[in-house]
Amino acid sequence: MTQLDLRAERIANEPMSVVGARFRFFGGVDSIVDIWRHRELLFLLIRREIKSRYKGSTLGVVWSLFRPIAQLLIYYLVIGKVLGVSRGTPDFAIFVFIGLTTWGLYSEIVGSSTTSILSNSGLVKKVYLPREIFPLSVIGSALFNAAIQYIVLIIAIATLSSVPFNWGPNILLAIGGLLLAIVFATVVGLVLAAVNVYLRDVQHIVEIALGILYWASPIVYSFTYVNNMLHGGWLEHVYLYNPATLAVLAMQKGLWAAGSVPFCPPGGAACITQYWPPHLGLSVAVVLLISLALLWPAQRVFARLQGNFAQEL
């Protein structure tokens, strides 16, 4: 048999499949299979994201450390020392760094997912790929950046922490918080990535919203300050409904050992016990489950909107 006959036989035996996978409400499984088939490409795209960010720079990936370190120094000096917040917050540097890295991961996933389809418009218009790959690739590169920062954080905790690290169940809380940040940001990012193709204003709104929400989570100030101001009122509940806030709090509760013991400032002032919201572990678990469940409708919205991407770009 010639090559031609072999091909003819193979093609004749292959069933016809409908192109473009018309939107079906329960088509989520197909999409996952499609993405799984393109996993190698996904990893290459993640590498491309990471490499191209530090293109041509001598220090390369090391730069992804300097930004949070610079931020850390500013907050440590300006807010901690000059404004005196660190007097009520033990191990202030570690505290701030936990919040910065977690928020950084969350906001990077949301922010760069939003523009991911637009910035890959060349590919979207010219090649058929499961389009979820583009937000997923920026999520991958955000995770990579965060991983480096967490390594630094763990070193800092091991060397600088004034209270010995407590390997208790709190570490589970940190893992839950991290997962919550990733999953919820992915849900938001997927939807915004698709909507931004049709309404370009979204990316600007997201930029501003992330800037505002940064201050709506206990990153540079501890939750104790919030509780002192709001005294557990309805506003505090609203504050705690924010999944990003829950994620940051869980990370702090899990990794900031000094926050779990009473802190007696030198100089004889009254000892301070950090206030933590009640049932933090339960709230994180519930919101994490809800976020996981929301992944499906988010993917469906994305799949519904992606049909016209190529012509809207």
Partner: protein
């Protein structure tokens, strides 16, 4: 052959409607919410297309700008979803709608090969296997570890093309990207395409070059305004496409006339005939009747002879010949081509009237045709009389 081949693509009743938004920003949409309809307009890029493409065929999609041919290619490729209808497909697809889509300027050639191959559907292991072939085909070995932003545009497309042809597709979709690079590389591309055809791969290509379509395709689909105008023989397809261009030009000329811009020179009549002698050589005679309304400083006649697939065989002008009469009124000019040795077939003659500064007054394409009958040992455009002897 193609009748026994299984089909690889089936297009059923596909229409594609585009909605043109005239406003994009939130403010504009909000302000115009009430009259949203007024700010959108629909247009159909494709209307009720049915196609069945058999494995191993090479199909050319041709048409004027905006006829919907690229849209149809994108619908087949799954890049654009049809508004109505479905497309069914099987086998492995590679879409070459733009060379180097997905090349990242800051990555090296090597990294881009892996990335681009993955985009076109190759696994890492397959890319490892083809990598040396790809680099050799592209001919840019010394630069493979250089960032592609430092590549010349020729190197860039060569690498991209090399990746694309090594993807091992059953169905290759090509949009105007054949014939890139210098002449030796172009020859390599065409050889690769011929090899693809021999291996029974299916190629669907969009092209503006009638010559390319004529030489590569065994089936031509002519689209006009999103509707299939012709589907089948390439020669007929190209003729219909040309006739369409011609009709458009005529319409433009007619409009110009209505606006009072009368043509200075008019081709009134054009006849061609061929007298074929016993030895197979032909005498081709063309008679052109021209009416001169306003004489220009000079004028001349241009003619082209083409085969039905649009391959130009000969072109001439009368500017170097003795001057033609240049007074208002009707003139008849005869051009004779003695001793024409062409293979059997139909040939077209295009004719035009213009002056030496490049102004074109009138044109007819095709103006006429002639037929060379007969049989030959071989076949081709030239009539040769091979003498065969053996010892």
């Amino acid at each position: 052959m193609s009748s026994t081949m299984p089909s690889i693509v089936r297009v059923h009743g596909v229409s594609k409607r585009f909605v043109m938004h005239k406003d994009k920003s939130l403010k504009e949409r909000f302000l115009n919410f009430r009259q949203a309809r007024r700010h959108t307009s629909d247009f159909y890029a494709l209307r009720d297309i049915d196609l069945d493409i058999a494995l191993g065929s090479t199909v050319g999609l041709v048409g004027h700008n905006g006829s919907g041919k690229s849209t149809l290619l994108k619908v087949i490729g799954g890049i654009i979803e049809p508004t109505v209808g479905t497309v069914e497909r099987r086998g492995r697809l590679a879409a070459l709608l733009e060379l180097g889509a997905g090349f990242h300027p800051d990555l090296t050639g090597r990294e881009n090969v892996y990335l681009n191959a993955a985009i076109l559907g190759l696994t890492r292991r397959e890319t490892d296997r083809y990598f040396d072939d790809i680099v050799e085909f592209s001919g840019i070995e010394p630069f493979i570890d250089t960032q592609v932003k430092f590549y010349s545009s020729g190197m860039y497309v060569r690498l991209a093309f090399a990746v694309a042809v090594h993807v091992d597709p059953d169905l290759l979709l090509v949009d105007e990207v054949l014939a890139v690079g210098d002449e030796p590389f172009q020859r390599k591309c065409m050889e690769k395409i011929a090899q693809f055809q021999a291996e029974g791969r299916t190629i669907v290509l969009v092209s503006h070059s009638a010559e390319q379509v004529g030489s590569l395709c065994d089936r031509v689909v002519v689209l006009d305004g999103g509707v299939v105008q012709h589907d089948g023989d390439p020669g007929d397809g190209i003729r219909i496409l040309r006739a369409g261009y011609e009709a458009e030009r005529e319409r433009a000329a007619h409009l110009a006339e209505q606006r009072g811009l009368s043509r200075a020179y008019d081709i009134e009549s054009f006849d061609t005939e061929a007298e074929v002698g016993a030895d197979g050589t032909a005498l081709v005679r063309a008679r052109i009747g021209v009416t001169i309304h306003e004489p220009s400083h000079d004028w001349g006649i241009g003619m082209e002879i083409e085969n039905t697939l649009g391959l130009q065989l000969y072109a001439m002008t009368t500017f170097d010949a003795p001057a033609l009469p240049n007074t208002p009124g009707y003139h008849e000019v005869t051009v004779e081509f003695p001793d024409v040795r062409l293979g059997p077939g139909t040939y077209l003659i295009n004719v035009g009237v213009g002056n030496s500064s490049g102004v074109n007054f009138d044109r007819r394409a095709p103006g006429g045709s002639f037929v060379i009958p007969g049989k030959d040992y071989g076949n081709g455009i030239l009539r040769l009389t091979p003498q065969i002897s053996a010892k």
